[in-house]
């Protein structure tokens, strides 16, 4: 490639725009002043300690993990076989069903959250936690259908047919032949759905109440009344978590395949 100075400078500026705000957060997590200041004075780890000592952060973190893991697992259990069925011939209304499975991405998150809250929590009196779980399941399912579905479409179905001719039942062939060949896309879809669920605000915001509040919801409510470096410290910890997940994805199947 020949040099393109103007373009490099432009791209550099865009990356600066993307990263300077996050870098500033990171720096403010270490300042000694009890309200956020930039540039910082002094240097301390006390805000990180404060994060771990804050019971509501810890509780909501555990709840977030629980909800996201359960919802994503449920989405996997229901989504993988569905994605498989949708790639087979002879399913009538295939494209309609597929759009229906993907529809939670088209419906705005606040609307999903609002309608679940109104119908399930208010009208049916189903416990809030179940509602939250269902909401997160709904937003996770499309990731599984899309990512696993596209890898199933690229899979050569004759390897499955070979297994049948060798005497394998259809179920056994699915388990022993199909699943291992789509394992990396299963992992990718799981990671994407998990990250998305963990970060979700609009759905969680409606389905929260006493004792039921995900970490982002807790953090958001905290920010509305507090402006202190504890927020920065928690942000840094969450960003570290993101980096670790990205590293895991990169090591197992490469980030390029996920996006």
């Amino acid at each position: 490639m020949r040099k393109q100075r103007g373009l490099s400078i432009f791209a550099g500026a865009v990356f600066a725009f993307l990263f300077i705000p996050l870098i500033i957060i990171t720096i403010t997590a270490f300042g000694e002043n009890p309200t956020i200041q930039f540039p910082i004075t002094g240097f301390t780890f006390q805000w990180f300690t404060a994060v771990f000592e804050n019971q509501s952060f810890m509780d909501s973190f555990l709840l977030s993990l629980e909800v996201s893991l359960l919802a994503t697992l449920l989405a996997l259990i229901i989504g993988i076989p569905a994605a498989y069925a949708l790639t087979r011939q002879g399913v009538k209304g295939k494209s309609w069903i597929k759009s229906f499975f993907l529809s939670p991405t088209i419906i705005p998150g606040v609307v999903v959250g609002y309608s679940l809250f109104q119908f399930i929590v208010i009208r049916l009196q189903i416990p809030l936690f179940t509602g939250l779980l269902l909401g997160h399941f709904l937003i996770s399912l499309p990731y599984i259908i899309r990512v696993v579905g596209s890898s199933l479409e690229q899979l050569d179905f004759s390897i499955e047919e070979v297994a049948w001719t060798l005497g394998s039942t259809k179920f056994k062939a699915f388990i022993s032949i199909v699943l291992p060949n789509i394992s990396s896309s299963i992992f990718a879809s799981f990671m994407l759905a998990f990250i998305n669920s963990f970060n979700n605000i609009p759905v969680s915001q409606f389905l929260s109440g006493p004792g039921i509040s995900t970490l982002p919801t807790t953090l958001m409510n905290y920010i509305e009344y507090n402006y202190n470096p504890v927020v920065s410290a928690l942000s840094v910890l969450l960003m570290l978590g993101t980096i670790i997940l990205m590293f895991l994805i990169e090591k197992t199947l490469g980030l390029a395949k996920v996006v």
Partner: protein, 277 residues
């Protein structure tokens, strides 16, 4: 019997979707049309109210500005990334992906730090003597716009890099041998060929901004409501469920219209070679 198996496999997902997505949606939206008799009154009176209408217009306006800005910033950046070596491209894509996977609360919070009365931007401007009093940047439409660009720029870049990578580099070189400077070749060749990517990316940015909740909530304040924050306020603070439901349907319909509209534009522009030789 085996013909039924696919449907059996699909059934659990379908049932869950019907019960926990479709039925709740219908049950929420149906009353806005039917109140003893079928009518559109709720919608007419919603739009007649200038305050409500203002929020609707603001939401559309912000979404348009954010989409345009993301295209202006994202297209050259994506072109730059697509032109780098595989190693660099991987690194730059990871760097672009990182903010996308970072919680939107954190990403909005970052701009509170920057735009507040005592924030980095005001301090910087004051220190070089451009302003004497701090500017009101936070809790404005401007801060929602900046925050939303910040939120959705990465997704546009990533979508576009995927399309631009697949443009044969020889096509660009061919344009140059025919007398086009780099910029001209970019405008006349790369840009038209990137239209599908720009459309897909724009749909994501536009509908994303249209429905985003966190950013307008944290950066907009009460005087700069968007549809999503207005829906939440109606439902959870004011207890006005009828208006909340009306807003819900308006958001769904607007999203669908925007998607349909962009796809129509895409088909109009992307007329090349429908049938193969």
């Amino acid at each position: 019997m085996s013909k039924k198996i696919p449907y059996l496999i699909l059934a659990p997902g379908l049932i869950l979707l019907v019960f926990f997505l479709l039925i709740p949606l219908v049950s929420v939206i149906w009353p806005t049309f039917y109140n003893g008799t079928l009518s559109f009154d709720s919608y007419i009176s919603f739009f007649k109210d200038t305050y409500n209408f203002g929020i609707f217009i603001r939401t559309i306006r912000v979404s348009i500005i954010v989409t345009v800005m993301c295209i202006i910033l994202g297209v050259p950046t994506a072109y730059f990334i697509a032109g780098t070596s595989a190693k660099w491209r991987g690194l730059l894509m990871a760097l672009t992906l990182f903010p996308m996977l970072t919680n939107s609360v954190i990403r909005s919070f970052a701009w509170i730090n920057l735009l507040g009365q005592n924030g980095v931007v005001n301090k910087l401007l004051a220190s070089i003597g451009i302003i004497s009093k701090p500017l009101t940047l936070l809790y404005t439409e401007f801060s929602i716009i900046i925050g939303s660009i910040y939120l959705f720029l990465p997704i546009l870049i990533i979508t576009l890099v995927g399309v631009m990578e697949n443009i044969n580099p020889e096509i660009m070189e061919a344009a140059e041998t025919l007398g086009a400077s780099r910029i001209k070749a970019f405008i006349k060749v790369v840009l038209p060929l990137s239209i599908p990517g720009i459309i897909v990316g724009s749909i994501l940015v536009f509908t994303g901004t249209l429905t985003a909740y966190t950013t307008p909530q944290l950066l907009g304040g009460n005087r700069n409501m968007m549809l999503s924050t207005f829906l939440y306020q109606n439902a959870m603070t004011l207890g006005n469920w009828e208006d909340a439901s009306v807003i819900a349907l308006i958001m769904i319909v607007t999203t669908l219209i925007v998607m349909k509209g962009f796809n129509l534009i895409a088909n109009r522009i992307d007329k090349r070679g429908e049938q193969d030789a």
